[in-house]
Symmetry: C2
Subunit: 201 residues, 2 copies
């Protein structure tokens, strides 16, 4: 006897949802049922939002950040300090830095980090345009805000070595214990760096 499952259109929806990161078959089923029963504007709205974002979003031709326009709002903003560039791996990292409210400079988004394991070299990242910005511009400091894993560190070091000859200051985010964090739960490598970088009070 034939066993029956979801209708083809629902199976296709489940298959498409399963391709999302962190979404397994069970979650995909739950999401599919939700989308079938959601209000029309919510379901169609999601489909439309995916298509719209894919169509509109591009990379800022200056800094590489995601934008709906030719030039991103940060690069357009004349109030920003154009002598400082903060280099990050991903667009989301800019937002984290913005949220601190402590940074007034510009950004440069690499869209990844050097990774010999994954075959990602300097030419696969948004690096050439950074060097061009530094050669043409009035930049005095580049802050490396790449992630602190092996790949982010290697990327920061590689770029620092490229930038040094231009006589531009290169800095790195400080390492240390998290604000509000328990020492007990701080890993040894981080605590070691926090000791090395201790501040007088």
């Amino acid at each position: 006897m034939a066993l029956y499952f979801y209708p083809p259109s629902v199976e296709e929806l489940i298959a498409a949802l399963t391709k999302l990161p962190g979404v397994g078959p069970k979650t995909a089923q739950r999401l599919a049922m939700h989308l079938l029963h959601a209000r029309e504007e919510d379901a169609a709205g999601l489909a439309e939002a995916i298509l719209q974002a894919r169509e509109r979003v591009r990379r800022c031709h200056i800094c590489g950040n995601l934008t709906d326009e030719e030039t991103c709002p940060v690069c357009q903003d004349e109030q920003r300090d154009t002598t400082t560039i903060c280099v990050v791996e991903q667009p989301g990292d800019c937002i984290v830095v913005e949220k601190t409210g402590q940074y007034q400079g510009l950004y440069h988004v690499l869209h990844g980090a050097l990774s010999p394991m994954e075959g990602i070299g300097p030419n696969d990242l948004n690096m050439a345009s950074l060097m061009q910005r530094l050669q043409n511009g009035n930049v005095q400091e580049v802050i490396m805000a790449t992630n602190t894993g092996v790949e982010g560190e290697a990327t920061a070091l590689y770029l620092a070595r490229q930038i040094k000859p231009l006589n531009i200051k290169v800095s790195r985010l400080a390492y240390g214990v998290a604000v509000g964090g328990d020492l007990e739960y701080t890993d040894e490598a981080t605590l070691g760096r926090a000791l090395q970088g201790r501040l007088s009070i």
Copy 2:
């Protein structure tokens, strides 16, 4: 100074994703970035799958299960045993029963359970068509396979009371310990029911 976040089209995508169940702002950001960087056919494919499923899926006019056709494949299948109807709350429950490979009868999908708390009464569920099937047909047994929570139990009891006058046998799934399960982790209510329903070996 103005702070910058994602471009509007990305913010809209994140907002649409946040409406999905179990998806918070962080997950929505991760999904949005994935969708922006995914292959065109995967991203557009998901949007298309949502719209297609919304357009095509309807309820089978006999059993209420989800189908892309007028009548679902189970109701169309002449090999199925038309004397037995298994009543479930959700379309996904049919699939779980199908997967046992031990059921050859038909289904009836209520699309929910009675819930005075949420204001869901008999008229809000796919119950009238079940009673009609029972009155017209050659059904000899109705198996209540609603969930075993308070609402599912109340729904099964309510329907059983409606069906009894028609001289049709009404049964309920057996309660007991899970196959392969540890007694230690079986809740008392379930273990109590398993004792009551003990089988001679």
